[in-house]
Symmetry: C2
Subunit: 357 residues, 2 copies
Amino acid sequence: VGDFEDTAQTRGRPTLADVAAHAGVSRTTVSNAYNRPDQLSAARRELVLAAAAELGYSGPDPMARSLRTRSADAVGLIFSANLSVAFSDPAAVEFLHGVAQACEERDRSLLLIPAGPPAANIAMVSRAAVDGFLIYSMPNDAHVEAVLARPQPAVIVDSPTDIADVDYVGIDDRGGFRSVCAHVLELGHRRLAIVSHGPDEYDPTAEFELSHAVFRERMLGLRAAVAAVPDAVDIQVRTGPTSSHDVGRAQTAALMDSAVTPTAIICTSDALAFGVLAELTERGVRVPGQVSVTGFDDVAAAADRGLTSVWQPTHEKGHLAALMLLDRAASDQAGAVQRRILPTRLVVRASSGPPPD
Amino acid sequence: VGDFEDTAQTRGRPTLADVAAHAGVSRTTVSNAYNRPDQLSAARRELVLAAAAELGYSGPDPMARSLRTRSADAVGLIFSANLSVAFSDPAAVEFLHGVAQACEERDRSLLLIPAGPPAANIAMVSRAAVDGFLIYSMPNDAHVEAVLARPQPAVIVDSPTDIADVDYVGIDDRGGFRSVCAHVLELGHRRLAIVSHGPDEYDPTAEFELSHAVFRERMLGLRAAVAAVPDAVDIQVRTGPTSSHDVGRAQTAALMDSAVTPTAIICTSDALAFGVLAELTERGVRVPGQVSVTGFDDVAAAADRGLTSVWQPTHEKGHLAALMLLDRAASDQAGAVQRRILPTRLVVRASSGPPPD
DNA sequence: TTGAAAGCGCTAACAC
DNA sequence: GTGTTAGCGCTTTCAA
């Protein structure tokens, strides 16, 4: 007779209702057995769980549950370009680490959403079952627009910077970059090269595009540092499409083959700086004897390789952003817009020194 | 009058039904406007979208959609210990990278599910809205059990190895480890130390626990290499709770302070090896002059630092596993269980050489 | 092409 | 402590 108790449910997987029928209790009781164990007697709970096991029922369907409770217990994250690039940059990994840790602490999952240009897959954003979004180092593009169109809260990290009514976490880009530029200038360097992720063509006299706001801030930091020096300073700015090892390497090759070689190469990320160092090493250029090199982010590997860099609290940035998001989601988005700017700190190591002769 | 068209929907957010009412069309038409643009005229679609914009409707609710279609367009991933550790190991990051790339190619999101021992949060597994799971380098614990209880397909990567009826992707651990051990023995080393993630106490004569199957395979590889050498070989095996820089460092300190110091330290991961190198450098021990060091995984940094290692296709492993999972999910889990073993390759660099005198 | 009707599987009031 | 009822918001046959 056993099998006939199971309602007319022969096809498909068993549902909570089937378990209830099989156990001879109501659906509520089964639901409570899974979600509020304290709301029913232990014996009854065992009964329900046994019935579930017998039927091969493995617990409430997550999607149905999410629809009903209107929460997914997950945080969405979109980040610049494709996921591939993101995992290549140690600073991005460190950020992710911070986010993941916050998620772990608050019992949330972390949904990584491809937001790459290859597939203009905005649909992935619209279809993500999450309670809110982290927007990390993105251009102000269609993906960001899709995120902000959704009713869930969002927190922007680093960029875009030109969205006023959304929580923001970032660093003092201008001050941080000024400090490393000032350091190099104080060492006596007067022929500098900047290697950066940024616009294809950089006209130092023109206005900056908002889409490169971080780049803009750093250039303003550079200007401030240079303004504090009485001498003439020669500056070349070389930009590439990503903040990667390869770009650092390629720009260095171009730099060292050019007519006026710099005595210091200041990079806007450690990833770029490692590429610079690799190219210089291959060319037999001594660092810092012939050329000084500096990075930005101060990832773990920077210490290992003696790279002068600007430390930023990358891990904490991720952690804080995720907590801000979860708090806002919990409070149903009430409260004033927050804007948190985290400090940076110059870390001088062996890769920077006085210019030759 | 405008606002009064909106049914009795004053409270809460607008739904698809509200948009339909406002636009004067059926719910089907609104749904089609978002999901099947080719199923209705462009004009009608514009009408619907305009109504949606007017109401502040940002598209179908993902959870309701998922419930109805029974698919989440997402892949779940659980990995060893807590997320924190995972992001610290470059090999794990590379694996993630491969998974992320496959997800991007197939228009899926990637849900990272905390499976850390701190919070025994099995509920996160049961509540994840995903179409299938990747189980990466896990002990055969309650989390894995929770994954396998769910009706969605799963693919196991690396471990656990003792689950027969689930798709599996791994490498030839025994052969790979044998090759690096043989290399060190051929160089003439006869006093070896193995530094590994593994069981607390390792009794070389005892049976191995299944929970350390990878460790077991590698020890069998070691034995095979040693068996091919006529001389007596002295071997110390030192294990730690994780495969990290810190463990490598600590075990090396213990090793170098012991009575019989090895002439070669063979590690089961590059992360461990970097820790070993850090400790040796601090002690002023020359590598490979006094002690040779080898790693496993051949992460990018291994090449930079001249570490002899065993390369494995870490990125491809992630990519392949994700594709296998998506294919199985697409075919509704039909078909025979797959088992893919990927090749490894010894990469000899400067960190290994003949023993002293 | 478009519309009407029928649930997807679940939880949370509320009554008992 | 347990059951009844009423949807959560959507997609999808099917018929028009």
